[in-house]
Symmetry: C2
Subunit: 745 residues, 2 copies
């Protein structure tokens, strides 16, 4: 690492005028703070699509935006809607934020209001459909099949339907008003219609409508054989202070909530894929055979709704197969192809059929080292690698059927960016919209347009409406939000790269100077770290994606530093897999390169280094404090992993294999073994009901430290889970700050 | 309070020579510390009685002590015992500490070695009896009835027996070698043969042999209707780091231990009294009627073993009755008398029949304001108040049948002392043995002698053998132990009194000056507090009963202060009951008198006051920090009560009544309501599995502080219960000390 070179490129992006600017309060900077929205979140607009019409949703009305000049025209008003509701003798609604427009050709708007769902035809001025869901209804999954458009009137054909769950049972509500109870034995041990496999492998939901809405594929998970982590409810909503027990049998005593949690190497749950037919009220299950230690992921339907595809993964997570099942019989038809990886194979994207060719689909894989799009035919033959290069395709955004192009997001422009691209069937890629920053795009129905909500280090928030047809044409800029931080003293910030511990790889860092920086002073420095897979800290979004707390600490007089080490996301498979079977080891080496860099800065007091992180970052913090006890003086670890033995099967075994097959890796990375090394001040904070990094991690570490005669500190948020939200989050950051102020300043 | 007067009486007891003396380590001062026994515990001897022969128990031999001159003579040696065992082809034993000599007239010694119990006749050189108990056997209760002496040989008659429990079931082993299983449905919900009512009301065991050993009375407790507190086992002995689950069904996941815990005002357990007859193998239960909300306490047998007495108390704990039951039928014969109290009635002592008169018994009550001995006849008529005065009788030690005297302990000599007295049937009291200090006495069989193990502020430990026959004769001094603290710099200490907040009552305090005290300096001061009933901190035992940690803190440069406020023990009923229905309120007022006194001392820095306490003292500490937030800068509260709603029925309702009948008292004393007042630094420490002050106290307070935007600190000892023991206790006191060093110095 050439420090001179690094220092020579040291330029600061902002040289704010300090005069007349305010200082931040913590409430300005932390989500949940009373002034956070006012003082940290740039203005936003809520836009959605009605076919290719861009609609702005507001409290009192929905407006159509003219995509040429940005002028708006009222589409519907709250008054109109409530007139229709009152005429039909229904309860009114209070705002038009939660609206959606399912059919481009129809004047239909779906409204949500608490547990009510109402479909209104605003031209016909009638209530097409209304339902009041059980207050416990969850996991709502609407289906508005195209076939409903066959009807000339706005009356919907019965294909329209809604899947949802109550108390782990699955229900389907069809447009004829009939409620189908798909399961009745749901429980904490037997889950229907919800996400499975602990949301790994790209799984985020448990119901999957066939394209025509005729069938509903769903997950069923049996976790009766899984160990239950004994979560305890300490704070009882039914016990306001001094209340008496509400009945002879009720008690103000804390209660238990056993939570199935399969720990690495132990017995895991079993997953089944069912298919429910609302017309016959029948359910069948895919005939997969014994599901023990098999992952059924990335469910996708064939365009004709007759076949179901999924990617099956073995428990070792090094072998996958794309399998085709008959949706009507549940029988497996064939394996289209398989994919293996020496370390781990992690399928995250269901296959997607091309809208213009039912015989071909997109398959995403990192088999060449980066996630890219490939075209396969239904025989399982790879026809083409559509994208290629040392960048990551993040995801497919949709299609332009007429143009036969695929719209997707990637970081081809810069490893820190997310931009929108189109690619045609010849693999020609076109950057769409603004080429800087971090873009979140929502495609119109035809794919001719997308709403582009983006920011960059110097753009607080822009919303453009971008045409996908002509990359040369200027997008319509609908919103340019001012930066609420403009009124504040924002510290100077710099992003750059240093070399990783391998001497080769560039790692991105973000350095923040103390507010009112005086280069002749020596400042304490705090490293904020995450370091785990599927996450990054530094990107080209607003203010380089900085966290509010880092700004707060800079204002208190700390140099703040952050480095995305090897193992983090968006840098390719080899970068991520450098940590395989020994999580934390290479990551820490990289962080020590960051320390070396920090210490080389003349204004950093190398004797006053702190570190803070949460979750994987809590693991990194505790690891750093106990592996390099002479480097860090103070650490604050939140919701940490302490020992991968206590982490769950799906995530844990991907990176660590099992304790049975990788005992040396588990031993090497266990912080229980390192508790004896603790020298500096280490505060560990955990959510009292953390279901992710269960309290066993923190409490086992406390026990290990006590036994080893070392002295950590502790804080807990009873009733909170893995992350503190709302005002607890502000309290948390006061606790974290206080600890550094007590011991590092 | 007249400060001038108080200061004028300020004299220090010790003026140690500082030169050449060592400083303490924490390990020297805290039980569990590696050098605690060597450097804090004066030499001791283990003595027991064989009839009226005083026996010293040692590892290699037992010796008879000549009560006149203290010379010793070997009684039995380990070698002799092991010869006997080897000859009988039995396993040898390793020491003679755990010996007892059940019959004065017989050469029988009972040995305990792990789970073996062996009765040996050392003259006959044979093993009379041996049994190996189940490793889980607990609550052992031997019966060596006098009737066994009828036998000429040393072979014991079948009356000799042993009651014990395994997994909450009761067993009786008789001398014929037969094991009787008294119950078989024992469980955590149904407890046989153990202490009940949470050890309140003087209950410390669950089995009671009749005088002739023919019958066994026992407690049975049904707690199936009681709420279970969800204790969690985080640290699993079966999970050494990196071990694999021992079987497919085992897991390293934390487990639950639901613990029946009836909270104030809620449904409580039900207690039954059974009587088992080993000769018929039959059990009957006292016909008490529905036991709901009734306490059956202080079980006693009539001398003839035909009647059973108990003191029944109502749930309100303000009305008791002495009831007589027929031990052969279980029917209630009569109520001898009742006792009521406006606040609470707390019977702590079973009746005791006079050995020389089967028609009379001793009943202890505080009905005149202090605990005293009364003589009743079996008709329930009070014949005589035997002791009287503004002092407390602590307990009856035994009898001298020939002299018709009762031996007892009391603080008549001084409220801070415990001395041994005899009283004859005319109520003439005689002080026996040394008149200073704190005495623990063990009576010989006849009552002619007692072993007197005592200390005083200037006596580390003496063991005298005292004759009860002639109070004028000098006792034999068998041990004068040197004080291991003589080699250390012991800080100056003073005990005195100040007036309570009522302006009338004298309260005892203990003040410790910093080691190497410099009167021209200003020192931070820390108050150690308990403050609850049934406890005191200051007495006339060695070094005024000072705690090692107080000495440690004095060595770190703190003034240490402790005050036994109203509500604490040994000062009479009115003193104790001043706190009724509002625990903490009067106690805090008294502690503030202590603060006023402390602040009046020229060397105390009134801006640096700290407070520390455990259990009730943790409640007091948290109360003081949140009630007087401008007085105390730093507090450390251990295992605190936070809200009496969460405390158990027996203790809690005695002092607080129920939340239903005393809602204002519960509200006034709830620290959840005061969490918002916290200003200073408050560290709360709790045992992760505390079954007494369940973690719900601490965690609810944490939640209340978070919600109120106040900032306590936290520490926990996972796996520990209400108190930290062993090396954890040393760790704990390092944590406590560090907190004051961090924030008060």
């Amino acid at each position: 690492m050439n420090k001179t070179t690094l220092l020579s490129i040291f330029t600061f992006f902002t040289l704010p005028l300090m005069a007349q600017k305010s200082t931040f309060t913590l409430n300005d900077l932390i989500p949940g703070g009373s002034s956070y929205y006012r003082n940290s979140v740039p203005e936003n607009k809520y836009l959605t699509w009605w076919g290719d019409e861009c609609i702005e949703q507001d409290i009192h009305e929905c407006r159509i935006i003219n995509k040429k000049d940005g002028s708006v025209q009222t589409l519907i008003t709250l008054e109109q809607i409530n007139d229709i509701l009152q005429t039909a003798d229904r309860k009114i609604v209070r705002h038009l934020y939660d609206t959606s427009f399912p059919y481009a050709e129809k004047s239909l708007v779906l409204l949500s209001d608490s547990n009510r769902r109402i479909l209104i035809d605003w031209k016909e001025k009638n209530v097409v459909w209304e339902t009041a869901l059980d207050i416990k209804a969850a996991h709502l999954d609407w289906n508005f099949p195209a076939s409903a458009l066959n009807s000339q009137s706005s009356t919907l054909s019965p294909q329209l339907s809604l899947a949802y769950t109550i108390d782990h049972n699955l229900y389907v509500l069809t447009a004829d008003g009939k409620t189908h109870q798909v399961s009745s034995d749901g429980s904490i041990d037997l889950i229907y219609g919800e996400s499975v496999h602990r949301e790994e492998f790209g799984i985020s939901k448990g119901t999957f409508w066939s394209p025509d809405g005729a069938l509903l594929a769903f997950y069923k998970m049996d976790q009766s054989m899984v160990s239950k982590f004994p979560q305890v409810n300490i704070t009882l909503p039914e016990y306001p202070v001094n209340s008496q027990p509400s009945s002879a049998t009720s008690s103000r005593c804390a209660t238990m909530s056993p939570d199935p949690y399969p720990m690495a190497g132990e017995t895991s749950h079993k997953v089944y894929v069912g298919i429910f037919n609302p017309q016959t009220d029948k359910t069948l299950y895919l005939n997969t055979g014994d599901p023990t230690d098999r992952y059924f992921t990335n469910i996708a339907w064939s365009p004709d709704g007759k076949k179901l595809y999924l990617i099956e993964l073995n428990r070792d997570q090094n072998h996958g197969s794309l399998d085709e099942y008959d949706a009507l019989t549940g029988e497996k038809l064939r394996t289209l192809f398989t994919e293996d990886n020496d370390k781990y194979f992690e399928p995250l994207h269901p296959i997607q059929f091309l809208p213009w060719d039912d015989t071909k689909f997109i398959y995403q894989t990192r088999k060449d080292g980066y996630n890219h799009l490939y075209i396969y035919n239904v025989e399982g033959k790879c026809l083409q690698q559509l994208t290629k290069g040392t960048f990551e395709v993040f995801d497919v955004l949709g299609f332009n059927k007429a143009q036969k192009t695929i719209l997707y997001a990637s970081n081809e422009q810069d490893p820190l960016q997310q931009n929108v691209y189109s690619v045609d069937m010849k693999g020609r890629r076109t950057l769409l919209g603004n080429k800087t920053g971090w873009h979140n795009a929502t495609l119109s129905e035809s794919g001719n347009y997308f709403i582009d909500n983006y920011s960059s280090p110097t753009i607080a928030r822009n919303i453009d409406i971008v045409s996908t047809l002509n990359s040369k044409s200027s997008p319509l800029n609908y919103l340019t939000a001012s930066d609420p931080w403009d009124q504040f003293q924002v510290p100077e910030m710099k992003v750059g790269t240093i070399k990783a511990a391998d001497g080769v790889t560039d790692l991105y860092y973000r350095l923040i100077l103390p507010t009112n920086f005086d280069p002749s002073k020596k400042y304490p420095a705090v490293i904020y770290v995450y370091g785990g897979p599927h996450a990054h800290n530094i990107d080209a979004s607003r203010h380089w994606g900085v966290r509010g707390w880092d700004i707060w600490m800079a204002q208190q007089g700390y140099v703040m530093f952050c480095l995305d080490n090897r193992g983090s996301e968006h840098r390719g498979l080899a970068f991520e897999q450098a940590t395989f079977r020994q999580l934390g080891v290479e990551e820490m080496k990289d962080q020590l390169c960051g320390v070396e860099y920090l210490k080389s800065l003349p204004f950093v007091d190398g004797d006053r280094l702190g570190v803070h992180g949460w979750s994987y970052g809590g693991y990194m913090t505790t690891s750093l404090m106990t592996t390099y006890p002479d480097v860090f003086k103070v650490g604050v670890a939140g919701g940490p992993v302490i020992d991968w033995h206590f982490y769950e099967v799906m995530y844990g075994e991907r990176y660590m294999d099992t304790p049975q097959t990788n005992p040396e890796g588990y031993e090497k990375t266990s912080l229980l073994n390192k508790a004896k090394n603790l020298k500096g001040r280490l505060l560990i904070i955990y959510g009292g009901n953390d279901p992710i990094c269960v309290p066993q991690h923190t409490l086992s570490f406390m026990r290990a430290c006590i036994d080893a005669d070392t002295y950590p500190d502790l804080f807990t948020y009873p009733g909170d889970e893995h992350n503190m939200m709302g005002t607890d989050r502000v309290h948390l950051h006061n606790i974290i700050t206080r600890y550094f102020e007590d011991h590092l300043k």
